[in-house]
């Protein structure tokens, strides 16, 4: 008991010292996660003694436009959308600012970028061949859901953690200390979690390969394997890291990281974002199904 008190005091001391250091000297290196966050031991814990990550979180990054470093861009239909449609510029969330694509995959990413607003809807799997999924209100997958410009909420118990994303109410169930394989392939993957000290480690498998990593056409296959690390670094920040591995698309595993910020307003809650009604005309009008019209059988 006494030992713990001393450690806690020590932590407070090092916070004070490190804050001063940060103020004076910290210069984050381009392409890397912010350095110099002082050592932190989460005070709010669940019954099993683990940091309680419950709450409403959101990334403050424009990675949803492009996970690599990018300039501001005009966005779609600027002649109508003006500044509303423009995309912010931003730093890379990818360590090393490079995605190690296999040569064919680099060309495929460029093709994706060119066709990212093509909407080709069919009643078969070919509908997933073209265009950014977010445009059609499809689920964003993991890790993209965590850096969409929408909040998400974590609900935590020792046996299971549930994450609900405001975007589409997309859902992840993280089964703690489980090793079950995914019974089928999904958009958001199948998540098994465990604790590594104060870091929540989530192993995500069973992706259907249909999601993109951003609006710039960065992609993966159904062989994607993601290992996430969620580490609280202050009462209001989580350091999020994800290692992506996909032998069909990349030459080696690679890593992204960025902070997550806690919503602290008293009335914070997710406000339903159900985008399906917003995309029906875009998706179904080109195939003659949005408005009533005559049709002959083949």
């Amino acid at each position: 008991m006494r030992g713990m008190r001393i450690r806690f005091t020590g932590a407070l001391m090092s916070v004070a010292v490190a804050s001063a250091t940060l103020w004076l000297t910290a210069t984050p290196i381009a392409g890397q996660a912010p350095a110099g966050f002082p050592a932190y031991k989460a005070a709010v814990r669940t019954a099993d003694g683990k940091p309680d990550l419950s709450g409403i979180w959101e990334a403050m990054t424009s990675a949803n436009w492009d996970i690599l470093a990018h300039s501001a861009q005009p966005g779609p239909h600027p002649q109508i959308m003006g500044a509303w449609g423009a995309g912010r510029g931003g730093q890379s969330i990818v360590e090393g600012n490079e995605i190690p694509y296999q040569p064919w995959a680099k060309a495929k990413q460029q093709e994706n970028l060119k066709n990212r607003m093509v909407v080709k809807v069919a009643a078969d799997p070919s509908r997933f061949d073209t265009g950014d999924r977010e445009l059609q209100c499809y689920r964003p997958g993991v890790p993209r859901a965590n850096y969409m410009p929408y909040p998400f909420q974590i609900f935590q118990t020792p046996e299971e953690i549930v994450m609900v994303y405001e975007y589409k109410g997309a859902l992840r169930s993280i089964y703690m200390n489980a090793t079950d394989e995914a019974p089928g392939d999904t958009w958001m993957g199948w998540s098994n979690g465990k604790w590594d000290g104060d870091t929540l480690v989530i192993d995500v498998n069973g992706f259907n390969g249909n999601t993109w990593l951003d609006r710039a056409g960065n992609f993966h296959s159904d062989a994607l394997h993601v290992v996430e690390r969620w580490t609280p670094i202050s009462p209001y920040h989580i350091r999020y890291e994800a290692t992506l591995d996909d032998p069909k698309v990349y030459t080696r595993p690679w890593k992204m990281s960025f902070p997550l910020y806690k919503h602290v307003e008293a009335n914070a809650q997710l406000v339903e974002f159900n985008c399906v009604p917003f995309v029906e005309e875009m998706m179904y009008d080109p195939i003659g199904l949005y408005r009533s019209q005559p049709r002959q059988a083949k």
């Binding site: 009643a123 078969d124 019974p183 049709r295 059988a297 083949k298």
Partner: protein
Amino acid sequence: MKRTMTFVGVVVAVGLLLVAVPVKAHHSFAAAFDETKPINLQGTVTKVELVNPHSWVWIDVKGTDGATTNWGLEGGPPVNLFRNGVTKASLPVGSEIKIFGYQAKSGENKAVAVFFEYPDGRKVFMGGSAPGADGKPTPGVPGTAQR
């Protein structure tokens, strides 16, 4: 044995009563599929989508001229299959299956499959044994074990 016969007798009686009105609200499919186009198909599996709200099994069907057409077959949702041991590994690409169902109203190569079976009559997903089979679970075919 007697009990079995009694049971089948009851089913037949009810079935005759219900000829005009299907038991459940199956009419949701009535718009998409054509009741005048019942169809039997046999082919090799090219893709299995065990997804909600409906599973889709895509099969290559070979014609007399040797040309191959790909058909999409709509089935039910997968969650109860998963609870009974069926997974994405249960119906590998290349498996041979046969179906009876109804073709899409549009005339496209799609159908809702009433029955999903292997050529020897065993059910593809869940269910007991075909009449005449020994009733034992089939090793390597998840879903045939008694639960």
